[in-house]
Amino acid sequence: MYNDTVLDHLSNPRNAGDLPAANGTGATGNPKDGDKITIYIKVAGNVIEDIRFKTFGCGAAIAASSMATEMAKGKTLEEALSITNEAVAAALGGLPEQKLLCSNIAATALHNAVKDYLQRND
């Protein structure tokens, strides 16, 4: 079902865990879809210095979270907001079609984290 890039990210996810110094948190997914993704960011000078995720869900959701956080690390907030779910799936070399709607939602959580940071710093 999954290609090697997806298997790599789901079995050895990058950036999984807690981020106590986080100043932005965003989540998405809900129990109805079976996947829930939370992304924590530490922003300094408009750049995402550090980033972590916590995901409950199938392998596709874990892989998407891992890839999305890798893509966002070290980027500016504007760059992070322009990362799309489609781009995450493409970077993974594609995800099975039945997983796209429910599991490929990490970019949404990332955007919510950025928005949370911006709101806190209004």
């Binding site: 298997l7 079995s11 050895n12 999984a16 129990p31 079976g34 996947d35 995901t55 874990i62």
Partner: protein, 477 residues
């Protein structure tokens, strides 16, 4: 990749759990386990669950070596990643990461004292599992200096000649099996620092469904079994017919427990074929049987346990059309399903066919168990009146499950079945057993027959089998 493609698929149900993930599974594969036991037969279930979990190396020291090659073959077939061998304790060169001792009271007491006395040489944690008839004790000693209970205060059950040949009574088989699965869970937890270490001994009594981690007497009261270990029981079990719905994580241990206990007829129903991601927990199946129907694979395995057994195979799904006809041929049903809508079908069909069923479910590190005998107590709908919305309750394929956890629940299903088939009481007819493997806690929650239940209540709305599917969100207003 941190693991091979095949390994990632094999251990997928572990890898998607954040507590384990790929690095944790890799650590399990790099684990060197020492198992001390009376024989391969006594520790068979332990060895299978350790292998299913991906423990890379298992060194065994047995008092009696006979029969170990047959068990080792089954272990290697289940998981070729595992190196397993039998050796003399004196020949141990590499210090193991963990030691498990599994045997009767006298054996476990002797072995744990021996290991303790060599604390310098073997500083690893020791998991001690003491077998009894329908009962047992499990405890983890983290260092050489931990005090251990005097396991000798626990009586040794006699091996019976009751069944016409020298064989262990069912209660002892169940004890060894439940302990095997529990010790495998504890070993994974200790190795990966997940959950709480079982520092205080866990005492369990499957006959009375009692579980405790506090015990003032510091010994186990062996349950009063009336005349369970008798020729009359042997004959009753031989004449009994049990249907197991689902040949997977729960069905495997349940079928093994019942086959080893002498149930004469076992029906197995499953529409699926063996997949590699099954093998972290479905000990009835194996690498050499990938791709074949699960019912066929189960038949091969069960005949290896008990050549006299003739399982009845249904290579199909349980449906509204076939459920009543199939269930009516059996005395009792075991639920080994992996989805919720089918549970409601099974519940309703068993009610209309007037057959009791033993319900269990698992997810991640947790399990639940109850007996549905609707004439007397609750049915599944009394506890869970409606099929939940799709996705609101996750499944193991989305959330993962630690392999030996369904092992614990499945053998307990077999235990409840044996009690019912021999007309012995079961506390689980009006309570639900909840198992939290992270804390190694078992809790009993009382439950009641619901007078307003749509199926078994005073004014039932459900009078025949229905269409069972998840409630579709789109249809809700």
């Amino acid at each position: 990749m941190i693991l091979s493609r095949e390994q990632i698929n094999r251990y997928m149900r572990h890898i998607i759990m954040p507590d384990i993930s790929g690095p944790g599974q890799k650590k399990l594969l790099e684990t060197n386990m020492l198992v001390l036991s009376e024989s391969a037969e006594v520790s068979q279930v332990l060895l299978l669950y350790l292998a299913a979990s991906g423990i890379g190396r298992i060194d065994c020291c047995f008092t009696h070596n006979s029969g170990c090659e047959k068990v080792f073959e089954a272990v290697r077939d289940l998981n070729p990643d595992v190196q397993i061998s039998s050796l003399n304790c004196a020949d141990l060169s590499d210090a193991p990461h963990i030691c498990i001792i599994l045997g009767n009271a006298g054996y476990t007491d002797l072995m744990s004292k021996t290991i303790q006395s060599q604390g310098q040489k073997y500083p690893m944690p020791v998991i001690a599992a003491v077998t009894g008839n329908w009962s047992g004790v499990l405890q983890t000693m983290q260092s050489a200096c931990s005090p251990n209970p005097d396991f000798n205060t626990f009586g040794n059950p006699t091996e019976g000649t009751v069944y016409g040949r020298h064989t262990a009574p069912p209660g002892l088989i169940l004890s060894r099996s439940v302990l095997g699965a529990l010790a495998a869970v504890e070993a994974v937890k200790v190795r990966l620092s997940i959950g709480k270490v079982l520092e205080k001994p866990l005492y369990f009594d499957l006959w009375n469904s009692s579980f405790t981690q506090e015990n003032e007497n510091n010994k186990l009261e062996a349950p009063c079994l009336k005349d369970f270990d008798s020729v009359s029981t042997y004959n009753k079990l031989k004449a009994s017919k049990v249907l197991i719905v689902g040949c997977g994580g729960l069905g495997s241990p349940a079928a093994l427990g019942l086959a080893a206990s002498g149930i004469g007829t076992i029906g197995l129903i499953d529409y699926d074929t063996v997949d590699i991601s099954n093998l972290n927990r479905q000990i009835m199946h194996s690498t050499s049987r990938l791709g074949i129907p699960k019912t066929k694979s189960a038949e091969v395995f069960l005949k290896g346990i008990n050549p006299a057994i003739k399982p009845v195979l249904y290579n199909e799904a349980l449906t509204r059309e076939n459920a009543l006809d199939i269930i009516r041929d059996y005395d009792l049903v075991i639920d080994g399903l992996d989805n919720l809508p089918a549970r409601y079908l099974l519940n309703d069909a068993c009610y209309f066919a007037e057959k009791p069923f033993i319900e269990a479910g698992v997810l991640a590190f947790h399990g639940l168990l109850t007996v549905v005998s609707p004439v007397e107590g609750h049915c599944y709908r009394c506890i869970f009146p409606e099929i939940p919305e799709n996705g609101s309750v996750p499944s193991c394929s989305e959330t993962g499950v630690l392999g030996p956890v369904p092992g614990v629940m499945g053998f307990m299903q077999a235990a409840e079945a044996l009690k019912l088939l021999t007309e012995n009481p079961s506390r689980l007819k009006d309570s639900i057993l909840i198992f939290d493997s992270l804390a190694m806690e078992f809790d009993l929650v009382e439950s009641y027959k619901n007078a307003n239940c749509e199926l078994c209540g005073e004014n039932p709305a459900i009078k025949e089998l229905q269409d069972y599917s998840f409630v579709c969100n789109d249809k809700k207003e």
